[in-house]
Symmetry: D3
Subunit: 227 residues, 6 copies
């Protein structure tokens, strides 16, 4: 039974990691000051802290089906609250939207007809917030193999969510001030590598040395002094 | 700049952990089969995999402001999609809602007036989905100190979210079949300990050996043979 | 023409019942203090005052298609307003959700595909607020006859609405204080009998002498001193 | 304890009224065919069957706070479902919206500022669906006494709801066909009398002999041959 | 490229019309005081100022797909804002809803099944706000030719929108005060003629000399002294 | 009475312009094929056809309070329908969002507190869809004069709406294909001049010879071959 195993894990964590980092946790209990908002999928194969080797206190994390940020508008969302809290409340200046290979949500998006019957709430979620990705893929890549379409959907979805993110009040205000960087990433489970969207070339590039923040919308690249 | 440091982390992860677990990741890339849905706060001080000592592939994770699950209804939500996907799509049979000490969302909930001006989207999120907690605390604990109220709010919020969770179609169906256990947990940052709600005593108990799943709603404890 | 007949009824009511109870009505015009919120179907065959032999002033009544209480959340509803008014405004401490045999709404719920075309607004209403019942019935009772399924749907719908009710702020606050009892009833048109859900046995029992309030959620039966 | 008394009422109903009308109830269990949809307040002082001297099977009933029918639009409602079911499913041709004197909902509407704090869900309900009444009263009757304003609000609210009702698809279709009559009534608790809106005079008239259906919208009175 | 041509148009406008009406525009820059709210389709073939020979400053204009005004309710809309601004903010006393022949939106409404696949957002818009028209046409005119149905839909849609308009708070308040006139018009592209709904005859009449404001709802024609 | 004058205008239009362009209108009655979607304010001082010297059939037009396009998401809107119809149904490849000097909506946005009381529906509209503009202005330009803030708000609002537009499925798909150009314009009532946003310089430039389409989001300027 998994909960039993988790309880053993809790004990192990406490007796080892916690004991040897007690001071850090005591300090953290005074308050958090993470520098990055990390948005990724609920998928069990992704562990944000592990793949970025982050410590407790470093990443403010949103996890949902499809690493989605609904656009700002009439319908309040969990994601809108988290973005506002991260940027306005915590002063975070870097946001990463991190998709991943073999994403079940994107697989569902490409077969959205079945989904409506089988999992109507997943269907609603994707239809409301990832339809731009689906339409782009369907309109522009007719005749592609399913695996090719999935790869494109995973990439375009990350860019769609960047677009959605840019409609949020706190994001728009900070982008205008040049005080925020957005990053479109994809984690490849099978290689353990992470790629970032490089707008200059319209491609995802392996993250090795330098970041590729997405261009500030409506501001030409060269005029963006912060970067 | 934090993104630089994260890129170093990505490299380190790849060159060490990934290389030494390559086979596991290759297998994971074929599909996931987590056994637990773990719902917790976006708070940077919580690392679900660390505190439960879980490996990639073990926990399907929802993280948002306040570890909240909106009740099922007319407004589709990210959380509804994730719950449906976890239970129907992945066959998960254990769900943990894990709150935590020093929760900024609960602190905001208790000062909800200010919040409406400062962070209107956080306000909307809490007002729509945590008002039951706020009202319960305000009505039943007049005159309590702020820190006492915060502690009660953190506890009651976890129970409120259990209640909300129980309105979801897949949850209700599986609870009826006796095929699902719900767990109300609180993680204490400063002690590294986790407590679970023990309905038999109406208190949160340290998780040491045995779990305390919440009673199946509307079914008396003794008639619940699965447990 | 039915309105003609109703006008005759109005005259008859006035000349007989009203005249002989004039004092009671004058007193009632000063204000109401009902002790029970009675939620039942719009179905014409149910007369709440008749079957409970209640007088004007005794029952605060919600009637809609399917005796449904949407869960608390982002979408405000008529039912949320009535529950809040009853519990907070009028101080009511007993709420009855009363379903009934031969319920057309539940019949529609089991054939929800057709409904979407024929009566799209009934479909929306049931899909948003009774889907938990439908899913539970469909998942757990495959191969049952239509009449069996209808009976189970009617019973489970009452319990689903209890669950929804428990997400409302005023309900949660009063349940916590032990100041509210919820009752899940079913009225059988053909026998004139009313049954209540007895959680201890997981069955509906004829109401003869004692009530069977549903257990306070998340609180074990024995610790619930009020009852 | 009120539930005890209700159970006695259930027994009394069964042993007397039901026994002596057993045949009627057996027939009703085969199906309902009410001729009137009666919309009235949840207020405990109103018993629709009593005041119209109707039998089980005669009135299809909606009861909510303020006898309100939300206009047709993007937000599905309980009332939309009931109207559709009554008119399309049951073939009902007469709809009565029946307000009443001393209505707490209308009293709340006139003090809507306080309401937002005290009973936010009642506030939402009235703001979304009775704001036309409030605005009409506030704009057109400055300086009137509170009791005068309340009387006007009660009257105008019934007319507002007629207007809302007329936006519903099944209503509009049947009105066009001349197969539906709408009635705007007010029940006076203290006199036991019911008044109907007589559009020809712009006043509410005592219902004694003839009904005063509201004019078919957009069709001049004399051209409305059905009436 | 059309934008090139538009820029030439801008220059032409500036050098001719603007120069010769400079004073008028300078005055207009101080503020607007239009006397009419004109609601019409987004259709490129309609130019409201041209067909009514209006000058800048005379018409406050709403243009959308299908010249639709959603009814007042829980979902805020652009149209609700414009109506409120026009009537409350600008004191406008005449509102024209102007449909037109060959309307693509109404054509789509009659084939609403296909629309859901092809243009889901157009479908949502029409389903939420023009379903009353569709149902009326489908129920009452079976067997009619497509072109006949289209003509009827165009006419009935204008009346449906009048009905929706009448649910708005500012409209209802001003109608009560007798300070507002509503007009249901149809522009015929091929003849250059405009027709208005004459409720006295239930027909659309050519607008030549006198207007045909729609009757004030719930007030019989003769009692409407303002007109 | 303004309607009288409009009827004279209708006659004048018919007897002059229509008669001399009869053939054009007959052809237009066969179908429309506009090349531009023009989004502008409802403000009476703007006549899109006049300022661009366009003929009937050339501009597909959306007019609302504040020339706003809600972002794509859970709440369907009139604007979403019009954008989808223009781009998918009519094949339009150029979209202009045209704000204007002295905009009452933007003035209201900067005083949004008062607005909530006076015109709650205008408030909702702006809060849901122009809050990004308000926040940007308030956060980044403290201490500026009201007229300066108004000018900045008018400009930034046009850019906010471009951002919102870019979240729409058909827009994103066509931008990806390089088949769509977006234009951010401002019309100055007092000078009769129109300015376009030139992203290369981050400024609005007088439109004299060449257009300044906004850069394709997430694609660096030089790689945008279509332009
Ligand atoms: Zn995924
Ligand atoms: Zn937290
Ligand atoms: Zn029923
Ligand atoms: Zn009432
Ligand atoms: Zn049209
Ligand atoms: Zn404007």
């Amino acid at each position: 039974m998994p909960i039993k195993r988790m309880i053993e894990g809790l004990n192990e964590f406490h007796d080892n990691y916690f004991i040897s980092h007690r001071e850090m946790f005591e300090q953290l209990s005074q308050g958090q000051s993470p520098e990055v908002l990390f948005v990724t999928s609920s998928d069990s194969r992704i562990d944000p802290c592990l793949i970025t080797q982050s410590q407790p206190g470093e990443l403010f994390v949103i996890r949902n089906v499809g690493n989605i940020i609904p656009a700002h508008g009439a319908s309040p969302s969990a994601e809108a609250a988290a973005v506002e809290y991260a940027v306005h409340g915590l002063g975070i200046r870097d946001i990463v939207i991190c998709g991943h290979s073999h994403c079940g949500a994107m697989r569902g998006l490409l077969q959205i007809g079945n989904l409506a019957q089988q999992m109507p709430l997943v269907y609603d979620w994707l239809k409301n917030n990832a339809e731009s990705t689906r339409r782009l893929v369907m309109d522009n890549y007719p005749g592609y193999s399913h695996e090719k379409l999935l790869k494109i959907a995973i990439e375009q979805n990350v860019l769609t969510q960047i677009e959605n993110l840019e409609t949020h009040p706190v994001i728009r205000s900070k982008l205008h001030a040049g005080k925020l960087n957005l990053h479109a990433w994809i984690y490849e489970i099978e290689t353990g590598e992470v790629f970032a969207y490089d707008a200059a070339n319209g491609q995802f590039k392996l993250l090795e040395n330098r970041p590729f923040p997405v261009p500030n919308p409506l501001i030409a690249a060269h005029s963006d002094s912060l970067r």
